[in-house]
């Protein structure tokens, strides 16, 4: 066990401080070579750290680490279980692809916004790792603020009024979300005197203050996660950001808020909610699935289609609360993982499209040459995965969710899950339709620029990974189930 603790300490340090040091070094040292390669090297190294950590966790079970050797409640704890492990893997894989893509993108004469990306993105990456490791309410608040500010900064890397307006709208929502979350933390602390997740269930008996805290924390996090009724900032912000930034915003940043909702509901606040409230959360998620998909069907710009698809796909995550079972747990985690990879692939491929043709309108997608074919293949495979068709990770996730819905006798969620898949198939087919040879011939058939090899292969590799996910569900399931809370509501 002592050895396991040491592994956790080293791996956690690497996960949080590795990307952070990348940001600091790139900011201070003016060599372009560093900007292009350092992040990529570190993301490869972190995969190794995560691999070691995973096998350690498999033998030792969920783990906790008291920072500074100061035990909770005075000190801050980090904690790791299957859910956070999956989120860390998602972050690591997306980071690897984005760093590879950006290595090409940043090559040569980088402009101001590209230089900004090279510094701000590693900070965001570090904060996301910190957030997925966090097990302390106030620590979560601070990491969330880093994530939010970095995300806003990434949006305004794009020049122009549209991005500025989108960023301001984002900031207002995020600010309101932070304050609500902070109020919840204050209420919890006043009622329990504890901030650590592991100690909260015992210290926080049901009370009006605790219920209010649950309500405001959930509302605040929903704003950060762009769950359906408070999603208004997402499409503009994610569409406005530069493509690699859109990829991390859509694949990772909004996941952070949803992840925290699940973590808190199934952990510290487990005793505070009833099945009726869980059904309500599920209904909110279902509404998001339908609304986001319908909006995605109506958008004219490829990045906006993908952004609205995020609103829809996030709606699956709250379904875990009413379904509350180990199958639903696996399905939700798998869905988050799969969506993260697929969405990053889509935004990076959209970035290639804009880079090569300078045209992001939906009907402009076409296969001009071999490069274009690879790019469109990435979009198609990621689309298959989002729709949950058989060989993909999305299929496995939906399978588990459906299993949970029938096992708990809640067939209505099954309808939502299937309908969501069909709608996703519809908007992806609409996106791909012109490329399959049915679109109007484009006036300007020559490509503007050619994309680097890494730029082309990064989204394709991510998309292929979602297929790999589809074939190793049974192998990954025990990892996801590490330390899974099995709430008594199921």
């Amino acid at each position: 066990m002592g050895d396991g603790a040491a592994t956790l300490a080293v791996a956690a340090t690497a996960l949080v401080f590795g990307p952070l040091l990348v940001a600091l070094i790139v900011f201070v040292v003016p060599w372009p070579a560093l900007r292009e390669r350092l992040a990529l090297l570190v993301s490869i190294a972190l995969l190794g750290a995560l691999g070691t950590l995973s096998s350690e966790l498999m033998t030792g079970g969920a783990a906790r680490l008291a920072l500074g050797a100061r035990a909770a409640p005075l000190g801050i704890e980090l904690a790791l279980d299957g859910l956070s492990l999956a989120m860390l893997w998602m972050t690591a894989l997306v980071a690897l692809a984005v760093n590879a893509w950006a290595a090409d993108w940043l090559r040569g004469a980088a402009n101001a916004s590209q230089r900004g990306f090279g510094v701000i993105w590693p900070v965001l990456w570090s904060a996301l790792n910190a957030l997925f490791l966090a097990a302390d309410l106030f620590n979560v608040y601070v990491t969330l603020e880093i994530v939010t500010l970095a995300a806003v900064a990434l949006v305004v890397l794009t020049r122009g009024r549209a991005a500025l307006q989108a960023a301001m709208r984002y900031l207002v929502f995020a600010l309101a979300g932070s304050i609500l979350y902070l109020l919840g933390v204050a209420l919890v602390y006043a009622a329990s005197g504890v901030l650590t997740f592991a100690l909260l269930p015992a210290a926080l008996p049901p009370s009006p203050a605790a219920s209010l805290a649950l309500l405001v924390i959930t509302a605040g996090l929903a704003m950060k996660a762009a769950l359906f009724p408070v999603h208004g900032w997402l499409p503009a912000a994610h569409a406005a950001a530069p493509s690699p930034a859109s990829a991390v915003l859509s694949a990772l940043v909004v996941k952070a808020g949803a992840y925290l909702i699940l973590r808190l509901w199934l952990g510290p606040f487990d005793a505070l909610w009833s099945q009726a409230l869980a059904q309500g959360m599920g209904a909110v998620g279902a509404a998001g699935i339908v609304y986001g998909s319908v909006q995605a069907l109506r958008q004219q710009h490829i990045k906006r289609v993908i952004a609205y698809s995020t609103v829809a796909q996030l709606g699956y995550l709250p379904l875990l609360l009413p379904l509350a079972s180990i199958a639903a747990w696996q399905g939700t985690v798998y869905h988050a993982l799969n969506h993260g990879l697929a969405k990053a692939a889509l935004f990076l491929a959209a970035g290639n499209l804009l880079h090569m043709h300078g045209d992001g309108r939906v009907h402009a997608l076409r296969i001009a040459d071999r490069q274009g074919a690879l790019n469109v293949a990435a979009i198609a495979i990621a689309g298959v995965s989002l729709a949950g068709l058989p060989p993909s990770g999305g299929f496995v996730a939906k399978w588990w969710l459906l299993e949970a819905a029938f096992a708990t006798g809640q067939w209505w969620w099954a309808i939502v899950i299937v309908a969501g898949g069909l709608l996703a198939a519809a908007y992806m087919v609409r996106l791909l339709h012109p490329a399959l040879g049915h679109g109007a011939p484009h006036a300007d058939a020559t490509a503007h620029a050619s994309a680097g090899a890494l730029m082309l292969w990064a989204p394709f590799a991510l998309a292929m990974l979602t297929l790999v996910l589809g074939s190793c569900g049974n192998w990954l399931a025990p990892y996801i189930a590490i330390g899974a809370p099995l709430p008594g509501h199921g």
Binding site: A162, Q165, L171, A239, S243, G358
Partner: protein
């Protein structure tokens, strides 16, 4: 110490801030409202801590100190956004490329 007076103040400040955030569309006004809400939460934290011990427990104090710095950071970034929006009318703002309606920078 008058516990109820401070609790009422904290709740009142929060309500005023919430009203400001929801009622007005001016960005700086909303920012001020948000700052007041944050102050309200801090006040509540310290009042609760001070009701059991004097001086208040150091953990909530450290939380509030951290929170003050976080608040000033967010405010500062938001204000630079306002400044850029108000002061800057460069050509690429006035005439965005037609296909760039989503505001993408990848070209």
């Amino acid at each position: 110490m008058s516990l109820w007076a401070y609790c009422a103040t904290a709740a009142g400040l929060f309500a005023i801030g919430l009203y400001g955030l929801l009622a007005y569309s001016d960005f700086i006004q909303r920012l001020l409202a948000a700052n007041i809400m944050v102050s309200a939460v801090f006040l509540y934290l310290i009042v609760t801590a001070a009701s059991t011990a004097t001086p208040p427990h150091p953990v909530p104090q450290a939380m509030v100190l951290t929170g003050i710095v976080v608040a000033v950071s967010v405010t500062a970034l938001a204000l630079v956004l306002v400044l850029v929006r108000c002061l800057r009318a460069l050509p690429d703002d006035a005439a965005p490329r037609p296909q760039d309606t989503a505001g993408s920078a990848d070209g």
